[in-house]
């Protein structure tokens, strides 16, 4: 951190800070130079932090009333909904909060994809983000099992059964995960324990994610390295704080609308039927945020290959900083990449849609094409594009307009960037 020169004004403050530099940290966080051109897509980092804390706080209260027992779980949730003071509010915030969390994380991830925020020197931030995302999916999946409704039970059965596809040891792993020979009480209690643990792991990783962010500083819509601090930056407080607060409030309005007016629209009606191992629901569908991966899983005819494809679809993201060979970060200056980016967005939406449909006929065909395209985007299009794409000239700083002539080039700080500029000018 660059602000080691900071000393507290008061004597007590100095005494304390010499022993535990919390004030230095606070000073760093408020002064942290942030690019002044960050748009609203950048506010989702703050929104996500809010979502995580909301889930932890509401989850804590729910845990005080919930009972992890197959005979009592469903009834304890109804007890929360009916008899606990504002229990319905806490539970609806928690349940819809999961959806809002994923909505925000998808926007956050796709923002990073658009502006190339995963590229050097921010690879570690990106990889930490992918791990957080994986843990979020695990937490959400286990959380959905806890109310012990029909979808909870059968969703858990389908997902845990995936591990049985692993050759030789698969069956053993599944039995080990279940703590028995089917999804039952031992499964529920361990899912509950893990569901309580994972958010705190996520919290720890979020601290690392932000720490890693504060080393190079934020990327920005122009995608160039900027001098910090300079007239391209503003201090985090009050500029970014107030903007994040405004964006968070708008997000909360949407959130509140779901919680108070359509609290069950994102869930599945079958989950208000208590789990019954003898009755299989007509369609077993995961929550909306897992649908694209569910579509990938089902698009492969072989079970093991399907499982591999599904996990690869997420893990491939971790390799993204090296798969994308372009030195230009922001899609603003990459006319071709910009188009492929939007095709990818639509591709993922299509995958989500067919994931909710029965895996047959046209749906299956579309799922297969969309899956193939998903992998092609990362494995073929991105590596090739970096070499072949003719990019637009990038500016030297946020405050200055796009480089007009070579005279300006001498003012460049980073030689690498100039070379790209000149190249792109032809």
């Amino acid at each position: 951190m660059s602000d080691s020169h900071y000393t507290p004004k008061s004597k007590v403050g100095k005494w304390f800070n010499d022993r535990l530099p919390l004030l230095t940290l606070a000073n760093h966080l408020t002064d942290y130079p942030t690019p002044k051109n960050l748009n609203y897509w950048w506010t989702f980092g703050g929104i996500l932090t809010f979502c995580l804390i909301t889930q932890i706080v509401t989850g804590l209260v729910l845990a005080m009333h919930y009972i992890a027992d197959t005979k009592l779980a469903f009834a304890s949730v109804e007890h929360i909904m009916r008899d606990v003071n504002y229990g319905w509010l806490i539970r609806y915030v928690h349940a819809n909060g999961a959806s809002m969390f994923f909505l925000a994380v998808y926007i956050h991830i796709f923002r990073s994809l658009f502006y190339g925020s995963y590229k050097s020197p921010r690879e570690i931030i990106w990889i930490l983000g992918i791990i957080i995302y994986l843990l979020m999916m695990a937490a959400a999946f286990m959380g959905y099992v806890l109310p012990w409704g029909q979808m909870s039970y059968w969703g858990a059965t389908v997902i845990t059964n995936l591990f049985s596809a692993i050759p030789l040891i698969g069956e053993g792993i599944t039995t080990w995960l279940w703590g028995g020979y089917s999804v039952d009480n031992p499964t529920l209690t361990r899912f509950y324990a893990l569901h309580y643990l994972i958010p705190f792991l996520i919290l720890g990783l979020v601290v690392l994610h932000i720490w890693a962010l504060h080393v190079p500083g934020n990327n920005n819509p122009v995608g160039i390295e900027i001098k910090k601090p300079s007239n391209d930056t503003v201090p985090f407080h009050p500029y970014i704080v107030i903007k994040d607060a405004f964006a968070l409030l708008l997000f909360l309005i949407v959130f509140a609308f779901f919680v108070f007016y359509t609290p069950n629209i994102l869930g599945h009606a079958d989950n208000y039927i208590e789990a019954n191992p003898l009755v299989t629901p007509a369609h077993i569908v995961p929550e909306w945020y897992l649908l694209p991966f569910y579509a990938i899983l089902r698009s492969v005819p072989d079970k093991l290959m399907g499982v591999i494809a599904m996990f690869s679809a997420i893990l491939i993201l971790a390799a993204l900083p090296w798969l994308d060979t372009s030195k230009i970060r922001s899609a603003v200056f990459r006319p071709l990449y910009k188009q492929f980016y939007w095709i990818l967005v639509i591709d993922v939406l299509i995958l989500g849609y067919v994931g909710a449909m029965p895996a047959e006929g046209l749906y299956l065909l579309v799922a297969r094409i969309a899956t193939a395209y998903y992998f092609a985007h990362f494995l073929i299009i991105l590596p090739v594009l970096g070499f072949t794409e003719k990019t637009n000239p990038i500016p030297l700083s946020i405050s200055e307009p796009v480089l007009a002539g070579s005279a300006m080039a001498t003012r460049a700080v980073n030689d690498d960037k100039v070379e790209i500029n000149l190249k792109s000018l032809g």
Partner: protein, 259 residues
């Protein structure tokens, strides 16, 4: 960028509406004017009280409501029987209590704090009495079916003679709205089946509407508070956003960048 956003919004809305249209599953559900829908939706008190009457005189023969207590009948946001009425309702049922000081179980009249008395001791008993079909518990039924209140209302009025070519076993009935069209519950309602205490004419539609309203309440007993709180929360958030927006504009006016 703007163009891309509009593409995104468009594709999302197509997705949403398409999903919507398939969720109705070909057969359009019957609609009626529910008072509990919309931003300010509230339950129709009289309808809830009539609905309770239909439940207790018709449905309760087979369907339990295990998560409801008699006290709920007198709570705000529900049928709002007076406490005296709710006590009288409870007292008309017998519940098993004990053991007493002699170690014996005994029967006593139900109190407000007791759960609704169930028609059968257990699921097996209910199956045995109903040709193998289990009459589902109705506490959360209105949330446990796709289409919710509209679906239940439609189902109650959806009994028809089976189309030519469809043969039904004994004890199986044809219902237009049931999944697979076959249902083991015979048409539960018919005109004048119940004599409403408040003098309302007990037509089939009226009873279907009342019982569905009652089931919606039992599934969402805090719906009225939820709607009321929600409106206040959203108004508060909107006002606060405007204030924060103005503050943000003021602060950012020191920098020549637009926010």
């Amino acid at each position: 960028m703007k163009k891309s956003i509009s593409i995104l919004v468009l594709s999302l809305s197509i997705l949403f509406f398409h999903n919507h249209s398939i969720s109705a599953e070909k057969v359009d559900l019957l609609k009626t004017d529910w008072t509990f829908k919309g931003l300010f939706g509230k339950y129709d008190r009289a309808s809830l009280q009539r609905g309770y009457q239909v439940y207790t005189e018709v449905c309760a023969a087979c369907h339990s409501m295990q998560y409801l207590s008699y006290r709920n009948l007198a709570e705000p946001g529900g049928p709002e029987f007076t406490e005296e009425q709710a006590k009288a309702i409870a007292a008309s049922f017998e519940v098993l209590d004990g053991p007493n000081s002699d170690g014996e179980m005994f029967m006593r009249p139900a109190k407000l704090s007791d759960k609704f008395v169930k028609p059968y001791e257990n699921v097996e008993a209910s199956k045995a009495a109903n040709g193998g079909a289990y009459p589902p518990d109705m506490s959360v039924l209105a949330k446990a079916r796709k289409g919710g209140a509209d679906y239940i209302y439609s189902l109650l009025l959806g009994y028809e003679d089976p189309p030519a070519g469809i043969k039904l076993d004994d004890g199986v009935y044809f219902n237009k709205y049931m999944y697979g069209n076959k249902i083991k519950m015979s048409a539960p309602l018919s005109d004048g089946l119940v004599e409403y205490n408040d003098g309302t004419e007990a037509s089939e539609e009226q009873m279907a509407k009342d019982i569905t309203t009652f089931l919606m309440w039992s599934a969402e007993p805090h719906l009225e508070t939820r709607h009321k709180t929600g409106f206040r929360v959203i108004v508060y958030l909107i006002i606060l956003s405007v204030l924060v927006y103005l503050t943000m504009k003021k602060i950012w006016s020191r920098v020549e960048t637009k926010v």
